[in-house]
């Protein structure tokens, strides 16, 4: 019988090394080819966290990476689940290595670390939960994209402002259901 107290103990990887390896490969390809959508599974986190976002957190987060749960994603169930499976400390946006939430919950973007000129890698990665991922909408060009990709991004202007910070800036993993795409700071975003 599943009680609220034991629910957090379930929903992890069934074969951690191999599940994590396969899921990371999808995320790696997604980050290398911005806007292209890849299937990703492995974790079954508590709602409203999607399979893709939960899997990304299990692949990337651990005790050395503070995580910020934004807006309606900051629930006791998600807190317990993430703490049990990753040991990641939960923090405010300013200290977070990863943040997860829907677009409205994650704002404002200037609350997160964007790195410093000597170490632009010390910046946050935001996991943005959308209702669905579609290869239509904003036009993406830049490194990793041969001609152009398209992705239904919530607010193209915000991604343009982030790209203008290069080499500093935030990187985004965009998730919906069992699908993942990514948007590094290098991608040029134009309105549809």
């Amino acid at each position: 019988m599943m009680t609220p107290d034991t629910a957090a103990l379930t929903g992890g990887f069934s074969d951690a090394p191999c599940d994590a390896a396969r899921a990371f490969r999808a995320i790696l390809e997604a980050m290398a080819r911005p806007g292209r959508i890849y299937p990703v599974t492995g974790a079954t986190p508590p709602a409203p966290l999607s399979v893709a976002a939960g899997t990304a957190l299990l692949v990337l987060a651990d005790g050395t990476t503070p995580v910020h749960l934004a807006g309606r994603f900051d629930t006791p169930e998600i807190r317990q689940w993430l703490t049990f499976h990753t040991g990641a400390p939960l923090t405010a946006p300013a200290e977070a290595a990863f943040a997860v939430g829907d677009w409205a919950g994650l704002l404002p973007l200037d609350a997160y670390r964007i790195g410093v000129p000597e170490y632009p890698d010390r910046s946050a990665t935001l996991i943005v939960e959308l209702d669905a991922l579609k290869d239509e909408g904003a036009r993406l060009t830049g490194p990793g994209i041969e001609h152009e990709h398209r992705l239904n991004l919530p607010e193209p202007a915000a991604f343009r402002a982030n790209a203008a910070l290069f080499p500093l800036g935030l990187d985004f993993i965009v998730t919906a259901g069992e699908r993942v795409a990514a948007l590094p700071r290098t991608t040029k975003v134009e309105d549809a």
């Binding site: 390896a21 790696l28 080819r33 000129p117 990793g144």
Partner: protein, 294 residues
């Protein structure tokens, strides 16, 4: 208990792989920038590809087909032992054919066969900092990258021209990635530099120096040069003595005590495939032993 069960998948523990994976994602997000990472001791000495091995361990999945080359060859000691290492610790399939491989770990070459989407090229890197021989202090080179201050590198290339009449750098020829970071392409011959604009992912691991960097697919990779001394990806003026190819990178092999020599493709898989397709060079054997053995 099978031998493979005695190791975690792909040797490294999960905490280490997560740390390397986070570094790889940041490396792809900032093309050409060297991300520091906590390099581990590996069961092989520094200088034998520990950086490449750690990157390979972090990206391999059980379904991968793995190829390792050392100076283009699949059958050298380093390549054979790294291939066996992942056969044993990850149980992945291995191959010598560039086309069949999904992950290729390389020391000092890019395969002649153009790489495709879905493939990953992992470079072993000895000295990741292109400015290191010009400025030994890490604090200073880091500042130079932050300020995009690469004048020193152009002075070095200019001095080459003043002294030798041309840019004398033949390998580890510096490149600028996406118009921002100057990057060491690892000690590949400059012949290979133009191939770095490719469809596959390129990941670089330097174990001793604890740096990871990357070039996403289809990124602009420009070899540094001057308008009046443009970059020249030179090669030996010979065809391959075994397969007759005139467009490949060649190794010079001394064949006797009288200075006799031959030039052969450094990419052994590419050369063998050409010979299998019927191409013959000037010094090719009249028949192949394998073909007559049966």
């Amino acid at each position: 208990m099978k031998e493979m069960d005695q190791y975690n998948f792909a040797y490294l523990d999960e905490q280490t792989k997560r740390m390397i994976r986070r570094a790889l994602l940041k490396a792809l997000a900032i093309p050409g920038y060297q991300v520091p990472f906590a390099s581990r001791e590996m069961p092989m000495p520094y200088g034998w590809g520990t950086g490449g091995v750690q990157v390979s361990a972090a990206v391999l999945t059980p379904e991968d087909c793995f190829k390792v080359i050392d100076q283009g060859a699949d059958d050298t000691t380093n390549a054979v032992s790294i291939r066996k290492f992942f056969q044993r610790t990850a149980g992945v399939a291995t191959t010598e054919h560039t086309e069949d491989a999904s992950v290729i770990q390389t020391r000092h070459r890019i395969p002649e066969e153009p790489l495709k989407e879905g493939q990953i090229l992992v470079y072993q890197v000895p000295i990741p900092e292109p400015l290191r021989f010009l400025e030994p202090r890490e604090t200073e080179t880091r500042k130079m990258h932050a300020l995009e201050e690469y004048g020193l590198m152009h002075v070095k290339l200019y001095e080459d021209i003043a002294r030798h009449g041309e840019i004398a750098t033949a390998y580890a020829y510096p490149v600028k990635v996406e118009g921002r970071y100057v990057m060491d392409p690892s000690p590949i011959p400059k012949f290979d530099n133009p191939k770095m604009e490719m469809a596959a992912l390129q990941l670089f691991g330097a174990g001793r120096e604890q740096r990871i960097y990357a070039v996403p697919p289809y990124s602009r990779v420009v070899s540094l040069d001057f308008e009046d001394y443009p970059f020249d990806p030179s090669k030996a003026e010979h065809p391959c003595a075994l397969c007759g190819a005139e467009h490949t990178y060649l190794d010079e092999v001394i064949v006797d005590d009288d200075g006799g020599r031959m030039f052969v493709c450094s990419d052994t898989d590419y050369c063998a495939a050409r010979r299998a397709a019927g191409h013959r060079g000037a010094m090719a054997a009249p028949y192949e032993e394998e073909e007559t053995a049966g």
